[in-house]
């Protein structure tokens, strides 16, 4: 049962991250996802100091706001100071993350967070941390509920805003001319990314969550040329890598989140080489075939 809970929780988080990641990858903003996942740290620590629990509703909202704030800072530095986007990202998220690290070390006694957990998360504790009702009923692992809620919110968001998200991703200038606010939808998307990152924080940590945001979406991008199919493949990759990752971790007796991301990396490598449409080896093979065909057809000289 423990294995099932862990795999299910990991899959739900991976699906949430992957779906948002599809938009991030196509917007060429994958690293903004990275930035947000780090920048929310001070939000998490402050909310923890105020509320005393690690996965309260206030915490998710507070951290989501900081995520949006970091997006705003990145755009501000880029637009107002003319700083390159990647430099703006680098400055912003490291600064906010550092703030979080200082807060953790200063309040070490009061905050039940250590740097290791912040970086890598600990999904193995999911089955232990149960949600117990006032009358003592055990509802199951708390992280599982958080993961399910996060996925529901994300699916609702993408379902409602699909047209706007799709259009502002593909052709923002055109979207603006038909009256869609490009920056509003950008901030909404970043808000969703922040919320998801915070929710997944306990389980996978700040660094590995980036792999969940970018990896499955990047794999799907190489496998299809339709957006809806890309999202479907992303979901599939998220589930496969969570499952295989868990068993890899059991096999080597190592970190589960680390193993999941390792599987994502391996799947990406395989896709990169063998994807029927974009794979490096497949392209080479097609070229060779074409060259042979031309050679066979060419008149003797």
């Amino acid at each position: 049962m423990d294995a099932f809970y862990i795999i299910l929780t990991a899959s739900l988080f991976a699906i949430s991250c992957g779906l948002l990641g599809c938009f991030l990858v196509l917007r060429k903003m994958a690293m903004v996802g990275d930035a947000i996942s780090h920048a929310v740290l001070p939000g998490i620590v402050i909310a923890f100091l105020l509320t005393g629990t690690r996965d309260s509703f206030e915490m998710i909202i507070g951290a989501a706001l900081i995520g949006i704030f970091s997006t705003f800072l990145i755009e501000f530095f880029h637009n107002k100071a003319g700083l390159q986007t990647d430099a703006a990202i680098g400055v912003t998220f490291t600064w906010l993350f550092a703030l979080g690290v200082i807060l953790i070390s200063v309040f070490a006694g009061q905050v039940d967070l250590d740097q290791e957990c912040v970086l890598y998360g600990e999904i193995a504790y999911v089955p232990i941390d149960l949600w117990i009702g006032d009358d003592g009923t055990i509802f199951g692992p708390r992280a599982l509920y958080v993961a399910a809620m996060t996925l529901i919110v994300n699916i609702a968001f993408i379902r409602i805003g699909f047209k706007q998200l799709h259009l502002t991703t593909f052709d923002p200038a055109f979207a603006a001319t038909i009256g869609i606010s490009v920056s509003l939808w950008n901030y909404l998307l970043m808000g969703a990314v922040s919320m998801t990152t915070v929710a997944a924080f306990d389980s996978v940590g700040a660094i590995l969550v980036v792999a969940l945001l970018v990896g499955p979406a990047a794999i799907a991008y190489l496998l299809t040329d339709r957006f809806q199919t890309m999202m479907m493949i992303t979901v599939f990759v998220a589930i496969i890598s969570s499952t295989l990752g868990y068993y890899l971790a059991v096999l080597v007796d190592g970190s589960i989140a680390g193993a999941i991301v390792t599987i994502i990396g391996i799947l990406f490598g395989i896709t990169f080489l063998f994807s029927p449409s974009n794979g490096v080896l497949m392209k080479k093979r097609l070229q060779r075939k074409e060259a042979q065909r031309l050679k066979a057809e060419a008149p003797l000289s």
Binding site: G82, H166, F170, A173, T224, R226, F227, T229
Partner: protein, 263 residues
């Protein structure tokens, strides 16, 4: 030289636009007529694209205003269509030709509704009009430059607007596509729609447009082609550096079409 349109659909009033405090358009003041095929002509960096972007509200204005159908853009958005430069989007985006054209219908749909069957039929019709019916389900990265431009035009047609702003629709397309696009534009203007095109080729400009706007950061001239497209005006726009200018003046003189008197 500035000739006012009798039946204006677009009015620029004292428009100034700047990038990083450096003005790129100065004091543009003109009106453009209904039902005309308008060419915005000028050298590189003259602010041609900036002019239509500011008309579409994509850039902040330093001063002045643009009125469309005598109203603010926000009140008449559904009657205005904008075709960005082809290079402005990522053609490797995983989407099909039909999906791109359907985006032209988005403005007419509510927040939650998906495109309906009628929208799809409309999109297919528009694709047929631009001669792309064979490519409906093609992935957009497989299109040639001319085909990409046709898809953008189909998306604009799907908007069923009254006024069209197009940014360099003839850039890098082959002769067949050029003729096809021009034919569609002429059909649109015949129906009383107004098409405003950013264009950089002087030779073809002489053949394409009814109304010419000559621009070089400030407005050099705006008016019917036979009045405005003269050697003097072109030299003023381009600084008299081009030998081709004399030939173009000749072209315009040869092309004496009576219908041009309608403005």
């Amino acid at each position: 030289m500035r000739i006012e349109a009798k039946e204006p659909v677009v009015e620029f009033h004292d428009l100034t636009v700047s990038y990083h405090k450096k003005p790129v358009l100065w004091n543009i003041d003109m009106t453009l007529p209904k039902g005309a095929l308008v060419g915005i002509i000028g050298p590189n960096g003259a602010g041609k694209s900036t002019l239509i972007k500011s008309a579409m509200g994509l850039l902040p204005l330093a001063s002045g205003y643009v009125k469309i159908f005598d109203e603010a853009l926000d009140d008449v958005r559904h009657k205005v269509s904008y075709v960005p430069q082809r290079e402005s989007v990522d053609w490797d985006f995983p989407t099909s030709v039909l999906d791109v054209v359907l985006m032209g219908r988005y403005a007419k749909l509510g927040l939650l509704s998906r495109p309906r069957k009628a929208d799809k039929e409309m999109a297919l019709n528009c694709l047929a009009k631009v001669g792309m019916e064979a490519y409906v389900n093609r992935q957009i990265s497989q299109l040639s430059g001319g085909q990409q431009q046709r898809v953008f035009l189909a998306r604009a047609l799907a908007q069923e607007a009254e006024l069209y702003f197009m940014d360099e629709p003839f850039a890098g397309v082959d002769a067949a596509t050029e003729a096809a696009i021009l034919a569609i534009m002429q059909e649109m203007t015949a129906q009383g729609k107004t098409v405003i095109v950013v264009h950089h080729d002087l030779q073809s400009a002489a053949e394409f447009f009814d109304w010419i706007v000559l621009l070089n950061m400030r407005l050099v001239a705006s008016g019917p082609i036979n009045k405005v497209f003269t050697n003097d005006m072109l030299q003023e726009t381009y600084g008299g550096k081009l030998t081709v200018l004399a030939e173009v003046g000749e072209l315009v003189r040869k092309r004496q079409i009576p219908s041009r008197e309608k403005y």
